[in-house]
């Protein structure tokens, strides 16, 4: 297999990394591919794709908060991997391998900043109410469209588990819709490898009355809709757990046979069969009767 193909396979492994385990996967891949130079050169696109897909967060230089590395936050017209933190209006160069943010620069706010800032403030208070360690980014995509990304991570390698919740919403004030996607991944790996993976797509209409409200009021109405949808999504996950436990799990293997007793193995063996085997050969240390 050519070096190029090996790096391609390595990239596919990296994109499958569970929450918080990309460095472990990278270490394994380094040993397996055994070509550091080729890997270093060829792996960057996969790392970039992973960081954007997984809502990787970074501390904004000079600020006391984190922002999400997102395609929507990419500063246009530059060769650099430069991303905007819309909250502080600071852009920075992001290194997809070391996850470092450098070279901060101030950016001009867009003309829809009041609406964006109102959504951000509603988003932060929503985050505070429902997420334990969440990060949110609100970005203006055009004068009427906004993107909201939420990520919440919990890594506990000493107890062999990790989890990630990602929410993505696109709010369109013109067509009055919220398109949303919630993705949850959990990895539990103590003497095993068990993963929960969920995806939920939703489409919510924004009531006509909302558009005539002030930015602050419309933002809080929109987050009321998002809150309702996310809570419904989490509750329906609970229902699915119940269904899978009651219907599928019990249907696959019973806890005990219908008799409510463990098997009597001597009976199961059948006396005829046992006798026949004993008579025909006395191998395996059998005692003559």
């Amino acid at each position: 297999m050519s070096s190029e193909n090996r790096v391609q396979v390595a990239a596919s492994f990296i994109l499958q990394s569970p929450p918080g385990e990309i460095n472990d996967v990278l270490n394994d891949v380094r040993v397996i591919v055994d070509d550091d130079a080729g890997l270093e050169e060829g792996i960057l696109p996969a790392l970039r794709e992973y960081n954007i897909a997984q809502f990787t967060t970074v501390e904004v230089p000079g600020e006391h908060h984190q922002t999400i590395i997102s395609e929507f936050a990419r500063v246009p017209d530059t060769e650099e991997e430069r991303y905007l933190d819309p909250r502080s209006k600071i852009s920075f160069v992001f290194n997809h391998l070391t996850l470092e943010a450098t070279d901060p620069q101030s950016e001009e706010p867009s003309e829809v900043e009041p609406q964006r800032a109102a959504l951000e403030s509603a988003a932060l208070s929503y985050l505070n109410s429902h997420y334990h360690d969440g990060v949110v980014t609100v970005l203006a995509m055009s004068t009427t469209r906004f993107a909201i990304q939420i990520v919440s991570n919990k890594y506990n390698p000493s107890n062999y588990w990790a989890g990630r919740w990602r929410s993505h919403y696109e709010i369109d004030f013109e067509s009055r819709t919220i398109q949303g996607r919630v993705l949850v991944n959990v990895h539990y790996y103590e003497q095993g490898n068990v993963q929960l993976s969920t995806s939920n797509d939703s489409s919510i209409s924004i009531p006509a009355a909302v558009s005539s409200l002030s930015p602050a009021s419309s933002a809080s109405k929109i987050f009321a809709l998002i809150e309702a949808e996310e809570s419904r999504c989490q509750a329906s996950l609970n229902d699915a757990y119940h269904e899978m436990g009651e219907k599928a799990f019990k249907g696959l293997r019973r806890a005990l046979p219908l008799t409510r007793q463990k098997i009597d193995w001597d009976k199961t063996m059948g006396y005829k069969l046992g006798a026949e085997l004993t008579a025909s050969n006395r191998a395996f240390g059998a005692q003559p009767r």
């Binding site: 396979v9 492994f13 499958q16 990394s17 569970p18 385990e21 394994d28 040993v31 397996i32 055994d34 208070s125 429902h130 997420y131 334990h132 360690d133 919440s152 991570n153 919990k154 990630r164 919740w165 919630v182 539990y188 003497q191 095993g192 490898n193 068990v194 993963q195 929960l196 969920t198 939920n200 797509d201 489409s203 919510i204 209409s205 949808e229 999504c233 989490q234 329906s236 996950l237 699915a240 899978m244 599928a248 799990f249 696959l252 293997r253 019973r254 046979p257 463990k262 193995w265 001597d266 199961t268 063996m269 069969l273 046992g274 085997l277 004993t278 050969n281 395996f284 240390g285 059998a286």
Partner: protein, 293 residues
């Protein structure tokens, strides 16, 4: 490559991290990168069991690395390889007799606990005396309606036994692979049957669709000594050990799949308003301080 970590260790670590739903394609990708380690990988990474049909008896059996010779698989029912091969490895006549009996016994076990599915037992002699075997069980559930969950259970029990006088020592390694999938579809007005109402509902309100997958495997080991009176004692002994092990593992899987993973989701997001709870706690503290004064 004189020093540094063993590539096989890295491959096994990697397989413990990547999604269990992709295990087959990831093992194949690893084999393409490192063909020299193909046997190590196929022998140590458990993959979902394949169901095959015995051409001679029409009975289903399970295919895995233990009944494979080249590209052919041996059926425990007819002892034939498919596709047929000359001089494919087969147990000695003595061991084959025990294998036939073990297949019958575990077929009964399968019916009592799984009420369906397929089972297969394969035995082989060990070079330093004694013998080894694998007991395989598989059941899949296909949903009857789109809202019903689907699932599959694969058990792989590998054991080795050495006789010591009238006792035999058993070493058992058990892996259970379990996958459960639920699809969900919701609309603003779930009871609406009419096309027009449905359209109106989705225009006004919301619709959502989702998929939930719980998949993975867990492995446990045990070593035990049991008395041996006759050859079939080995079946009774391994039967009891496997029954006990599956009981433990079923409880463990239930705890991890439906308990642990669910708790972690609630560690990420809370349905209850955390801010409200925080304010309430502060108010309580203030009140307690007020009363104390």
């Amino acid at each position: 490559m004189a020093e540094g970590p063993d590539p096989v260790d890295s491959m096994l670590d990697l397989m413990r991290r990547l999604p269990p739903t992709n295990v087959e394609e990831n093992v194949n990708a690893l084999i393409q990168i490192c063909p020299d380690y193909a046997d190590d990988l196929l022998g140590s990474v458990d993959q979902p069991l394949k169901v095959k049909t015995d051409r001679a008896t029409g009975k289903d059996y399970l295919a895995c690395d233990y009944n494979r010779d080249g590209d052919s698989y041996r059926s425990p029912w007819s002892n034939e390889y498919d596709p047929p091969i000359d001089d494919g490895t087969s147990p000695t006549p003595k061991l084959r007799k025990l294998e036939i009996a073990a297949n019958e016994a575990f077929d009964t076990y399968r019916e009592l606990y799984y009420e369906g599915g397929v089972s297969s037992v394969y035995l082989w002699d060990l070079e330093d005396g004694g013998f080894a075997g694998v007991v395989l069980l598989k059941k899949a559930m296909t949903p009857t309606s789109p809202d019903e969950p689907s699932g599959s259970w694969d058990s792989i029990h590998v054991f080795e036994t050495v006789e010591r006088g009238r006792q035999a020592h058993y070493k058992l390694t058990s892996t259970v692979m379990l996958e459960l999938v639920t699809k969900q579809n919701n609309k603003a007005d779930e009871t609406s049957v009419l096309h027009e109402t449905e359209k109106k509902a989705s225009e006004q309100g919301w619709k959502s669709s989702g998929e939930i997958t719980l998949s993975g495997s867990m492995t446990r080991q045990t070593e035990q000594d049991w008395p041996v009176h006759e050859p079939t004692s080995h079946i009774t002994n391994t039967g009891k050990m496997i029954e006990e092990m599956e009981m433990k593992m079923r409880n463990l899987l239930q705890e991890v799949y439906f308990g642990k993973t669910r708790d972690i989701v609630y560690d990420l997001r809370s349905i209850d308003d955390l801010d409200k709870a925080r304010r309430q706690r502060e108010l309580q503290k203030e009140l307690v301080g007020f009363i104390k004064r």
